[in-house]
């Protein structure tokens, strides 16, 4: 199990107030902003920016970076690892 990805799922649930969603409901490659995924929207993108800063100390200053980083838990984890190196 990839602990960072598991932590991210719990952080998404907490930050976005998805009270009835469990980490098991979110697969690593689920498209977070797709209607068939978690159906997140622009408001949630703000929450994701807050999440990255709050839990990982990363500030998203380039909107283009966020667009690709927020695709899925996989891409978020990859983005965090890149920024941490």
């Amino acid at each position: 199990m990839d602990q960072l990805k598991e932590d991210l799922k719990h952080q998404i649930i907490e930050q976005l107030n998805l009270e009835d969603v469990t980490a098991a409901d979110i697969s690593d490659d689920m498209l977070l902003f797709d209607a068939n995924g978690l159906a997140l929207d622009s408001i949630d993108a703000l929450e994701m920016i807050v999440l990255l800063e709050k839990y990982h100390g990363i500030q998203v200053v380039n909107p283009e970076e966020g667009k690709s980083a927020f695709l899925s838990v996989n891409s978020l984890a990859e983005y965090i690892r890149q920024k941490s190196n």
Binding site: Q15, L16, N17, E19, D20, V21, T22, A39, E47
Partner: protein, 217 residues
């Protein structure tokens, strides 16, 4: 003639359509009561999980009427008007939003967007792609006269259906009553009972109050 062709109740104890109980909450479930209903009805709408309880109740009510009162709801995009009411607007979500910055030192945009009660009409409109007129009214208690008058005026003006109801949810109590009102071709009016075999009820103040009170007092 205008009829209530389908209606749904959700309380803390039960979920019913056209007066018939479909489901009662399972104390052993890991899910909230509304999520249990969502799963029971096999609704597939991921956005549901982000909504506050008022919006979730609206979506559940409309979908339960469609599925279990067997109403196709194939209306024109602008053919449906929505009218909802409750006692305390979005107070429960307002308190959650307040807590989000009191407890976590950062206000939550995801909660903030639900700090208006009329978001329920927006979420139903988005789900069903209905772009007719919508209204949310704050009133001390369910007023069948208000709803009857609203339905009659809007259907007389040409709308195909009115969906609305009473959606009062707070930390202690769930009172949800949602109805679908449609004009039905004239037919002989039976003296009794007011409810036909298909569950439809002819619109009137007394009749609306009567079906509201089937599971709410």
């Amino acid at each position: 003639m205008i009829k209530i062709t389908g209606y749904c109740h959700i309380t803390d104890l039960l979920c019913a359509v056209n007066g018939k109980i479909l489901l009662q909450p399972s104390p052993d479930s890991e899910h909230s009561w509304f999520r249990q209903i969502y799963n029971f009805a096999d609704i597939q709408y991921p956005k549901f999980h982000k909504m506050d309880a008022l919006a979730q109740a609206g979506v559940l009510g409309v979908e339960l009427i469609r599925l279990f009162a067997a109403r196709p709801m194939d209306f024109q995009d602008e053919g449906v008007d929505l009218v909802f009411a409750n006692r305390y607007a979005s107070a429960a979500t307002d308190r959650r939003f307040q807590a989000s910055y009191a407890d976590h030192m950062s206000p939550s945009p995801a909660i903030f967007v639900y700090t208006l009660p009329n978001i329920i009409t927006g979420e139903i409109a988005i789900l069903k792609k209905w772009y007719g007129e919508n209204t949310f009214v704050v009133m001390p208690e369910f007023d069948p006269g208000f709803f009857t008058s609203y339905i009659q005026r809007h259907i007389a003006r040409g709308c195909e259906a009115v969906i609305g109801g009473w959606v009062q949810i707070d930390e202690e109590n769930t009172e949800v009553f949602i109805f679908l009102a449609e004009p039905i071709p004239a037919e002989p009016i039976p003296a009794e009972p007011i409810q036909a075999d298909d569950g439809a009820v002819r619109l009137g103040v007394r009749e609306l109050l009567e079906i509201y009170q089937q599971h709410l007092s």
